[in-house]
């Protein structure tokens, strides 16, 4: 009889049932989608970091940040005989430079050994981040004083700029010097060889390179060919792609660490040390140990690194975590309040009914169970619809698979000092390390638990208020009030 009465009452008050269930459904669907998106953004963030810092990297150690203007600014300088002058007076210039990351000091290579010796460190690997910039162009003969300049036949200057009929181009790409013998942690741990081979231990000291697949396609580079790095021709032995959903790897070109140090003429240094802790619980302790042992360095954990991810991924994170969460809470609160108000209003409208039931012997508990049961079913009904809408939303997101860009802020900082005005290489590095990541909304058991939990909770809250109201009804007063 309990369920018959419950079913008849809910179907007899379709409008109220639909409104309450719809309110809860929208709220629960929002919570599900926002939660799934949060998980998706978190995954994307992890992938963005892994594509840059490598899979399994728990900590990174970098040199101290330099003040603006500090350090060696990048500049192309051409002295006498810096170019070849043709018969028509046009001078052809070409210069390639390999420079370390702007705005941050390097670390002595022994830092890697120091870190490896710290308790709790599973492995450590150093890498040298470089930017290769090539200046090439033609300068016309400088006209004699008073002569009028003549515009070139083809009009506008090409590439990076030009003047008075000259033209020049600045090409830039990132180079990462890595230890070929230590690839379990660091940038190469998140790449997959798509063609050729990876760098091997025997490659140390050799002019060999592995090239990012996207960069190789753009620049027509193939295995067996060469790529000019710092003026040296490096034999391409492999093409790599990202093993995460990121479209690009951490760098355009990977060469042996010792070769990179030699070409950049920076001595035995590294830019970053990638550290893997022995246990997840020990990460904080290892971070503290490293900070104590190497006070002049910057030690970052995964959570620190996550905050450095910028681009539209950062915007998505902010949108989901702030607006999405608050919107979900607001809608959920409104839906619960709506359910409570409708339940209380329903009890008030049914004063005669509940008064009669009490008059014929129904206990308070039995009346409360009836009211609470109706609210609970409304909640579950809303939960089921919300779950369906939520799953539909998740499916839609995964089908659409929106692409969002990400870039670690540290790269932007590197570019800060090297704008075109400085003539340095930094300005190009930002674009090269921005990667596109496909945003997914993963479906987890938590989503189902959350939907059912929220539906039951909302039903319980509404039922509790309605039941409390029904319990307070005195049968005599109830019947007197409707007489």
């Amino acid at each position: 009889m309990y369920f018959t009465y419950l079913r008849r009452e809910l179907s007899g008050r379709t409008k109220q049932t639909v409104i309450v269930a719809a309110g809860l459904a929208i709220a629960i669907a929002l919570v599900i989608i926002v939660n799934a998106l949060t998980a998706g953004v978190r995954d994307a963030q992890t992938q963005a970091l892994e594509s840059v810092y490598g899979v399994g990297t728990d900590l990174t150690v970098a040199g101290a940040q330099q003040e603006p203007g500090e350090g060696d600014g990048a500049r192309f300088e051409f002295g006498e005989g810096g170019g070849a002058t043709a018969d028509d007076g046009t001078t052809t210039l070409a210069q390639s430079q390999l420079r370390t990351e702007m705005g941050r000091s390097t670390l002595d290579a022994t830092t890697v050994d120091t870190i490896s010796g710290i308790d709790g460190v599973s492995s450590a690997s150093g890498a040298l981040s470089l930017t290769n910039s090539t200046f090439s162009g033609e300068l016309p003969e400088i006209p004699a004083e008073g002569a009028t300049g003549e515009a070139p036949a083809d009009g506008a200057p090409q590439g990076g700029g030009g003047f008075g009929g000259g033209s020049f181009d600045v090409d830039s790409f990132t180079v990462l010097g890595v230890d070929p013998a230590a690839q379990s942690v660091g940038p190469l741990s998140s790449v997959t060889v798509s063609e050729g081979r990876a760098l091997e231990t025997d490659d140390a000291g050799q002019n060999v390179a592995v090239v990012d697949a996207t960069y190789s396609t753009t620049n027509d580079l193939t295995v067996g060919g060469t790529v000019d790095v710092g003026g040296a021709a490096m034999e391409i032995v492999g093409i790599v792609t990202s093993s995460t959903s990121s479209t690009d790897t951490a760098s355009n070109v990977y060469i042996p660490l010792d070769v990179a140090q030699s070409l950049a003429d920076v001595g035995d240094v590294v830019s970053t040390v990638y550290v893997q802790a022995a246990t997840a619980d020990g990460i904080a302790a290892v971070q503290e140990e490293i900070e104590t042992a190497l006070p002049d360095t910057t030690v970052s954990s995964q959570s620190d690194l996550a905050s450095t991810v910028s681009g539209s991924l950062s915007s998505a994170t902010s949108l989901v975590t702030n607006l999405g969460t608050w919107l979900s809470i607001l809608v959920l609160a409104v839906a619960v309040v709506l359910a409570v108000l409708f339940t209380i209003s329903g009890v008030s409208r049914r004063t005669r009914e509940f008064g009669t039931l009490k008059a014929i012997g129904w206990s308070n508990g039995r009346v409360i169970r009836q009211v609470a049961g109706e609210s609970m079913v409304q909640g579950l009904f809303g939960g089921a619809i919300g779950l369906a809408i939520g799953l539909g939303g998740i499916l839609a997101i995964n089908v659409i698979a929106p692409t969002i860009s990400s870039a670690p802020t540290t790269t932007s900082e590197a570019g800060r000092d090297g704008g075109p005005g400085g003539g340095g290489p930094g300005f190009a590095s930002v674009a090269q390390t921005v990667s596109d990541i496909t945003l997914t909304a993963p479906l987890t058991p938590w989503v189902l638990v959350a939907a059912v939990g929220l539906a039951v909770s909302a039903g319980l809250v509404a039922g509790a208020f309605g039941g409390w109201r029904a319990a307070r009804l005195s049968p005599a007063e109830a019947l007197r009030s409707v007489a």
Binding site: Y5, R8, K358, A359, R366, P475
Partner: protein, 240 residues
């Protein structure tokens, strides 16, 4: 026991009244005004009686019916239903008395509109905790007794006023109560329907069920074995 056989009291019980009221008063506050619908009422109602209570509106009839129906407690005085002191009983005891010993019939029928006739009757059996088969049997028997066996699956909206009141009576008698309390049971009915309901109530009383009916209708009062008049909170017997 069948529906025509009401609650059977112990052999020595017929000698004692079903209800005994001694100096019963009721006071309550309504809109900051103290209302005294009953003042020092002394009354005994015998088993098997057909009692009507008449009087002007606001004279305390409904309040007295609520006290007799264990819906409320008197402010002072003593009120017993059999051996149960309704004035001092707990809420649970009052609820139990309503569930097992008292049947209610209201002027507005008070049926649940979303339920069928048989389901409405079944609602009266809900507190008794009977087995399903027993419940089904009692529902069918009660509906047959009021002549609505063929309308068991109809909802109140599909029944006439007289039929709805019959369903309400079936709901009241299905539990086999000691007493049936009716508040203006014919107040919403036309003359022919009124007579149908009165015939039904008369038949129940003839079967041994105690009837206490609050009414303005002299036609109802004429059928009673005992007539009471309640005016300004005091009661007097006007049976001739």
């Amino acid at each position: 026991m069948t529906m025509t056989e009401p609650h059977i009291d112990a052999p020595n019980e017929p000698t004692t009244p079903l209800y005994r009221l001694a100096d019963v008063s009721k006071t309550y506050t309504q809109k900051k005004r103290v209302v005294k619908p009953l003042v020092g009422v002394d009354l005994e109602i015998a088993r098997g009686d057909f009692v009507t209570i008449q009087g002007p509106t606001g004279g305390g009839k409904s309040t007295l019916l609520q006290l007799l129906g264990a819906l409320d407690r008197p402010t002072s005085g003593r009120l017993t239903l059999g051996d149960t002191d309704l004035a001092a009983a707990s809420n649970a005891a009052l609820g139990s008395a309503r569930a097992r010993e008292i049947g209610f019939v209201f002027q507005g029928f008070n049926l649940i509109p979303t339920l069928t006739a048989s389901e409405n009757v079944d609602m009266g059996l809900e507190p008794l905790g009977l087995a399903d088969a027993e419940r089904r049997a009692r529902v069918a028997e009660a509906l047959a007794h009021v002549g609505l066996a063929d309308r068991a699956d109809h909802r109140p909206g599909e029944l006439s006023g007289g039929q709805q009141q019959r369903v309400a009576i079936a709901r009241a008698i299905a539990k086999r109560p000691r007493v049936l309390l009716a508040d203006e049971p014919t107040g919403n009915l036309d003359e022919s329907m009124r007579d149908e309901i009165l015939d039904l109530l008369q038949a129940l009383n003839d079967g041994g069920l105690t009837l206490i009916v609050v009414t303005h209708d002299s036609a109802v009062a004429r059928r009673a074995s005992r007539r009471l008049r309640l005016e300004k909170g005091t009661i007097r017997d006007i049976t001739r």
